[in-house]
Chain length 320, copies 2
């Protein structure tokens, strides 16, 4: 009997689920809304119910499964299987996620943080091409990282390895929510791009649709900035250049440190595609050491929203 994996990608708005083969092929996918009411106390029971319900639906038995893997926001204790401080889930107190899910489903459970898990996914079945050394950077509302070196996910002593979003790229730059100044996240996340655009619009005096929309008080998004840049808007092009410069600097230094086969760029901002990649690459080439420049390649993520469930499922392979 071929055994299966379950991957769970827990986010602030939806919980995504998938059933996969041990080779990482997705066979079933579904999702439910995340109910963060009552200090997020419904989340774990909802996960258990949803898994049990779908196994019933597909007439599958718990013994068919190697295990469940999950990616989650917050600070993860992988040994204890607990999570704390996931503010978008309203999880302020320690949650015994592993114990409750194992008890509720009868299936073994492993977890890690969401960026690490997405990194595992892109490495396994995406742009990382199952390499031993793959770095993943996700440019979303914030910036997260998942670093695989020598075939293993790096965690560091306090689980903070891969905090690429908080690498300092502008020593006296924008104040970050983390309390430091000049973090990459303040420039190259979706919110960072908008911040850069607003500041540059203020100082810009030429002809620009981005300038007009900003001055009109319209809602500026990272996507709008890239769309306008692609259409040749002068200000938008300058914003993209500044963002690409700082991202190229951070990724160059990441590559100088880890020399992975590839640095995979994912998350909402990466939807700008080759237009972004080409510009980041220009600066990356400038900041990467020669051996690194010729051996570490920047790539766009390939799995989109599936990276999380696929990578999460791969955590369960430890039980195989």
């Amino acid at each position: 009997m071929e055994r299966k994996l379950i991957g769970v990608d827990l986010g602030g708005t939806t919980i995504k689920f998938a059933i996969l083969t041990e080779n990482g092929d997705v066979q079933q996918k579904w999702s439910v809304e995340t109910n963060i009411l009552d200090e997020g106390s419904h989340i774990v029971p909802d996960i258990v119910d949803s898994i049990n319900h779908h196994l019933d639906l597909y007439k599958m038995d718990k013994d068919q499964f190697v295990g469940i893997g999950m990616g989650t926001p917050g600070t993860v204790d992988r040994d204890k299987g607990t999570v704390i401080g996931a503010f978008n889930l309203n999880w302020k107190k320690t949650q015994n996620v592993k114990d409750e899910i194992e008890k509720g489903t009868g299936i073994k459970f492993a977890l890690d943080n969401d960026a690490n898990v997405a990194g595992l996914g892109e490495r396994w079945k995406g742009a990382g091409e199952n390499g031993n050394d793959v770095s993943f950077v996700t440019l979303g509302t914030g910036i997260g990282g998942g670093l695989i070196a020598g075939g293993e996910l790096l965690h560091g002593v306090a689980g903070a390895a891969g905090e690429i979003g908080h690498v300092t790229v502008e020593p006296d730059g924008y104040l970050c929510t983390c309390g430091k100044r000049g973090c990459l996240e303040q420039y190259a996340s979706a919110t960072g791009v908008v911040h850069v655009a607003r500041d540059m619009a203020e100082e810009f005096s030429g002809e620009s649709e981005l300038k007009t929309q900003t001055d009109d008080g319209q809602d500026i998004t990272s996507k709008l900035v890239f769309d306008l840049a692609k259409n040749g808007d002068v200000l938008a092009l300058r914003v993209v250049d500044r963002v690409s410069h700082l991202l190229g600097l951070a990724l160059g230094n990441l590559a100088n440190t880890l020399n992975p086969e590839s640095i995979v760029i994912g998350g909402g901002v990466s939807a700008a595609g080759d237009f972004l990649l080409d510009r980041v690459n220009k600066y990356y080439q400038q900041y990467a050491f020669s051996t690194v420049r010729s051996s570490t390649q920047l790539k766009l993520a390939r799995l989109g929203n599936d990276a999380g469930v696929i990578g999460a499922a791969s955590l369960a392979l430890v039980f195989a």
Copy 2:
């Protein structure tokens, strides 16, 4: 019978040797000069002879040894056991180091690059306190790095992991020998400190012994800069502050990336001791993400010149 390890630290001026227990206690140490004549073709035979000679001297037999480990400059192919491009050894062509040493001594042999090996040494028996996640940075004529994460040395896809000396800290800064601009090595290595001192002396107009000596065309060294700074020389203090700032930035970002238990600072420049460490720490605290700041500690190296032979010997433990 207790088995032993041999550690070899190959440098451009001396080759250091040590015999150690499997626990890393040094029992014998000796060294020979490095003969780089004739394209460095005497080096490997000299190593073989010196080992065989000392085993005779100590009445030890090759069967007593688990293996020989060696740290070397240049580009290492660990699988093949070869080295190429070690310019301070005159090794321009590929050297079959492993084959020749195994044949010449009858003892198994493993090698890695010198900074990695020194990192292994400080991690095993030095300031790294045998932790699973230890980063080592050596501030010598150049700057090297050895990164241990999850208990394993990181190599990257082309062996260039840990190129901390070539992390960009000043985007439009000093031109580096590697061809890039603004590499950490150009500011915080022994030669970098002198470069910074000379440039700052030119712009400085106050009272300063460092200024006087520089203007007199005297030989400035990194040690002199730190000694004068310790005596309160205003210019020297500013130089140390600038060096510490850029080093704090680079180490803060290294910590944000790997979150090791400790970053161990070694090499000649680190002889400035707590005077340097305190100043680097001030900036490190500014650039490290909060979780990282409280979990990753900067430390001074403890093993001095022995780090190389001790770490090299630890490579041989793979044969145990």
